[in-house]
């Protein structure tokens, strides 16, 4: 697939602090706070915005349909064009890419992508039930619908295929919760050890409470612009160099056992015996990476990327995603974390913000939050926005954001590049 549209830049972003429950503000107010932060940071006003994309996952959480237009209305963006985009956990990533398309197509010169989720209006186990309704309600949900259960089976199979260990999974939790100690937006920063993770309550073996992200209330906003407009707004925009989107079957049971779609840094002989994706890997993640790398001209992701913000709803999915993104070969995800490569000071920092595990996962906001954190990293403005520069990477040029739905049903990858 070729992307022949106009160049698209991110020019500003805003995030609310994610929390388990913030009953004093509703979703509209939260988006408004993040939106105003982004507008002020770039010196923009409402008049500068051509249109918007609304990003939220579930109508069930608040029993409110058309929440998108309620936000559009509250922000004062009516009667400008807007639409809602939804795709489970990848909603934020898909909406971000829809904003990209609005600019790339020439329809808009500026577009605000706003994401939110209000998950605190139901208890945690009812929330899990709603999320599980995003599995086939004929065949999967009634068997004991529980996403951590599905991911546990995928993690177990990854361990079986490749020898991945529970300690390697736990290291992801230690890393991400630890990074978040310096991120004021994060919901659950924690200094942990591998044994803390293993000793926390078992949710669905092998995944413990600290292998799994939490539910949150939160909002995030990204403002995108055309090249001409972007440089009018700021002398430090970030180029969205390429996007990719992959999909896979709704039911885990339907995943085929075929061949790996190869990245430029891989050979067919690397995977002679591997039946792919089965339930050990995310074919949608691989397809998304492949498309985005082609669009951005990346042939050696490990050496051509400086940071990754990926969808670590589970520690196991972070390890699986290292492989889908080609940061290492399939089967090497466990040793990748053992070698410290995704650490803050490692070869390629993965989830320097703390990821979903530590920042929280207000679904519709999550993929946009990743965009905002990557944007600040590439602008080298982490100190300004976080109040400290502990997480600022020295001189990042290129970042990757990755958003992921269901059991790997929709996955987006977007590549962002510093312009100076």
């Amino acid at each position: 697939m070729k992307h022949n549209g106009r160049n698209v830049y991110m020019v500003s972003g805003g995030v609310t602090k994610f929390a388990k429950a913030i009953p004093k503000m509703d979703f509209r107010m939260r988006v408004k706070k993040a939106f105003d932060y982004a507008l002020n940071d770039a010196g923009l006003t409402l008049n500068d915005i051509d249109g918007s994309v609304a990003s939220y996952f579930a109508d069930h959480f608040q029993r409110q349909l058309m929440s998108g237009i309620m936000v559009q209305d509250y922000l004062g963006l009516t009667p400008k064009p807007s639409k809602r985009v939804e795709g489970g956990g990848a909603t934020g990533g898909l909406a971000f890419q829809t904003g990209y398309e609005e600019i790339a197509s020439g329809r808009m010169d500026t577009c605000v992508v706003y994401g939110f989720e209000n998950m605190s209006h139901v208890n945690t186990w009812k929330g899990n039930e709603f999320i599980a309704l995003a599995s086939d309600t004929n065949f999967d949900y009634p068997v004991g619908g529980f996403y951590t259960g599905y991911y546990a089976m995928m993690a177990r199979r990854h361990m079986h295929e490749f020898g991945t260990t529970v300690e390697q999974l736990a290291k992801v939790s230690v890393k991400n919760h630890g990074n978040a100690l310096h991120n004021p937006y994060a919901q659950s920063p924690m200094k942990l050890t591998v044994s803390d993770v293993r000793n926390s309550p078992m949710v669905a073996n092998p995944l413990t409470r600290l292998d799994v992200c939490a539910m949150s209330d939160g909002a995030a906003v990204a403002i995108l612009a055309s090249e001409e407009k972007a440089f009018e707004i700021t002398d430090h925009p970030v180029l969205i160099k390429g996007i990719g989107t992959g999909t896979d079957t709704m039911r885990l049971a339907d995943r085929p056992f075929g061949k790996v779609p190869l990245l430029p840094n891989e050979k067919e002989s690397d995977y002679k015996k591997l039946e792919y994706p089965g339930i050990h890997s995310f074919r949608a993640g691989r397809s998304a990476a492949k498309e985005a790398y082609e669009a951005a001209g990346i042939t050696d992701p490990l050496n051509e990327l400086d940071l990754v913000e990926l969808h670590d709803a589970y520690t196991s999915s972070e390890i699986q995603t290292y492989e889908d993104l080609g940061l290492c070969k399939y089967g090497e995800g466990g040793s990748f974390i053992d070698e410290g490569k995704p650490a803050l000071n490692g070869k390629i920092p993965v989830n320097p913000s703390g990821g979903l595990l530590a920042c929280g996962h207000p679904v519709g906001a999550t993929g946009i939050m990743q965009g905002v954190f990557a944007f600040w990293q590439l602008q080298r403005t982490i100190k300004k926005h976080f109040g400290n520069d502990k997480l600022q990477l020295p001189n990042p040029k290129r970042g990757l954001i990755h958003s992921h739905a269901g059991t790997g049903t929709y996955v987006t990858v977007s590549i962002m590049e510093a312009v100076k």
Binding site: N128, V143, G144, G145, G149, R157, H160, N205, D254, I279
Partner: protein
């Protein structure tokens, strides 16, 4: 014609449960019965009453599905019903100690993905009759069926097969 400035809404005793006043947080109740059609998947649920697990086979490319679907994802052609074996192996497994609200009372429970000989894809099910630490990938399992059907996919569930027991006995006796 009625124009009554003294009209008054009738008072009720229903009231509202309040969790807190700052901000005001109230209980809002919702429930619904759906008229859910299994549509082209119906045969699967009916067949469980005859102790048969029905998958699908593509009429064109021959791909065999461990969970039925009306059309083939490989080539787009229509599939036909295809009876699956009542024995298979554990492809992967977990034990859920927490769950969605609906299933919380059933925790802990085991979920497995079943692989069947000669079938190209898997089937998700419950496993009973084994402790969490005794389940393993490759474990032989056999299907059992509820007598009183609920027309849910859990009308079929799996238990360890006699073969799995034999494997344990053999390893205890030092045989492979």
């Amino acid at each position: 014609m009625t124009l009554n400035p003294n009209a008054k809404m009738e008072e009720t005793q229903n009231g509202t449960e309040v969790y807190g006043f700052d901000p005001l947080i109230v209980k809002s109740h919702y429930e619904i019965d759906y008229i859910h059609s299994y549509a082209q998947d119906s045969e699967f649920f009916v067949a469980l009453g005859h102790k048969k697990i029905m998958g699908s086979k593509c009429k064109k490319c021959g791909y065999v599905y461990g969970t039925p679907r009306g059309h083939c994802m490989m080539c787009g052609a229509e599939t036909e019903w295809h009876q699956l074996p009542n024995e298979g192996k554990v492809h992967s497994y977990t034990t859920c100690y927490f769950g969605s609200e609906e299933f919380l009372p059933e925790t802990p429970f085991h979920l497995i993905m079943v692989e069947f000989e000669g079938v190209n894809s898997l089937f998700m099910a419950r496993l009973i009759g084994a402790d969490a630490e005794d389940i393993y990938i490759g474990m032989p399992v056999k299907a059992k069926f509820r007598r009183n059907q609920r027309f849910l996919p859990t009308d079929v569930y799996f238990v360890p097969s006699e073969e799995a027991l034999k494997a344990v006995d053999n390893s205890k006796n030092g045989k492979k």
